[in-house]
């Protein structure tokens, strides 16, 4: 094999951008076909193709980093610089929903009764389950930091246990949110209160589920399989950053929508 004289990762030609782009085409066209002809075939095809692409693309990144040693310190720095704008873009995604919420709630229109929460809406009590949810997410932020420190100190068993605990807390949060949704006295169709509430908290819930799968399906599994060392575990750090981001978004949701907004 030829010797490499630099620390940068020259990637192999990959089929995944092509299959991923095709999956996007099939999903969007499939959605249109579903709406117009009540057939979900094309959309299902697109979904399967997207899942296959996700699995194989990320599997290859793990192979390049853990098995082939391509993730040298400068390459890891590049990965960090990639994760930062990704999370920033997610922040702006949520900013849009907060904007919609404050636009509607700071100057409630006469149609809403000129007040917030609008006339006829009984909001959820912020000091019941939502407060418990806040505590659960804050606790999971602690356990993910515990996992990180265990990882850095080479405490394998402790890292696995604290990571598992973080994942359990994430699942508990999702369960509690599902129960809240089921019990809520208003729906997404109940005017601007319902739509801003369910779109903002719903997308947050989706991000909790994504973060939990990133921690459980990828990081815990990789930690059990000895992929992370005390020096090199950026995959875990990226998941932890993402988890903290989800945590912070919840704090803003809790303070503005659940507490101030009720």
């Amino acid at each position: 094999m030829a010797r490499q004289a630099h620390a940068y990762h020259m990637v192999d030609p990959s089929p995944w951008p092509l299959t991923g782009a095709t999956a996007a085409l099939l999903l969007t066209s499939g959605l249109a076909v579903w709406f117009h002809y009540h057939s979900t075939t094309l959309m299902t095809l697109g979904l399967i193709l997207m899942l296959l692409t996700m699995y194989q693309w990320w599997r290859d990144i793990v192979r390049e980093g853990t098995y082939m040693g391509h993730h040298t310190p400068p390459v890891q720095k590049g990965l960090r610089y990639g994760m930062i704008p990704f999370i920033t873009s997610e922040v702006f995604f949520f900013l849009g929903f907060f904007w919609a919420f404050f636009h509607s709630s700071l100057a409630p229109t006469p149609e809403l009764g000129g007040c917030w929460p609008p006339t006829g809406i009984t909001p959820l009590d912020p000091f019941e389950v939502p407060l418990l949810n806040t505590a659960v997410l804050l606790a999971s932020g602690v356990t993910v930091t515990w996992a990180h420190h265990s990882l850095m100190e080479g405490q394998r068993k402790e890292a696995i246990q604290s990571l598992a605990l973080t994942i359990l807390l994430g699942c508990y949060f999702t369960t509690l949110q599902a129960m809240e949704y089921y019990e809520a006295p208003f729906t997404i169709a109940d005017g601007v209160y319902g739509s801003t509430f369910f779109v903002a908290t719903g997308f947050h819930g989706l991000h909790v589920i994504i973060g939990t799968s990133f921690l459980a399906g990828i990081c815990l599994l990789r930690q059990i399989k000895y992929h992370f060392t005390s020096q090199h575990h950026f995959g875990f750090e990226a998941a932890a950053w993402y988890w903290h981001f989800v945590d912070v978004v919840w704090l803003f949701l809790y303070v503005s929508i659940y507490w101030w907004g009720s």
Binding site: T22, V33, Y67, M68, P73, G154
Partner: protein, 113 residues
């Protein structure tokens, strides 16, 4: 307390004793003098792996590293038959799906009867 230079923050950060002697990304130009050995107290070996080596299965990473590094195939086909099967299924879905999609869009573009 031991320190190492963090390439990311460009500052000193805390580190494990083992890494303080071999900082990441630096190769010692002059061989460091090993400290004089002390035999008076029981020797403690600082190990990356720790004591729970076999907790939840054995470490297969070194074997996999050997397999992956001694192999000229592109990264998505390095594991042989299972990789090839998965890749071909994905490619078949890509080509078949595109044709089906174009057909569906063509039919959807026809005026209603």
């Amino acid at each position: 307390m031991y320190y190492k230079f963090s390439g990311f923050t460009q500052r000193l950060t805390g580190s494990a004793p083992s890494t303080a002697y071999v900082p990441q990304g630096l190769r010692p130009g002059i061989p460091a003098e090993s400290p004089a050995m002390v035999f008076a107290t029981p020797t403690k070996v600082v190990s990356e792996v720790g004591t729970t080596v076999e907790y939840l299965g054995a470490n297969k990473v070194p074997d996999l590293q050997r397999i992956f590094q001694g192999n000229v195939m592109p990264v998505h086909l390095k594991m042989g038959v299972p990789d090839k099967l998965l890749y071909r299924t994905t490619m078949a879905l890509t080509i078949g799906g595109t044709l089906y999609c174009l057909l569906a869009l063509y039919i959807a573009a026809q005026p209603r009867k």
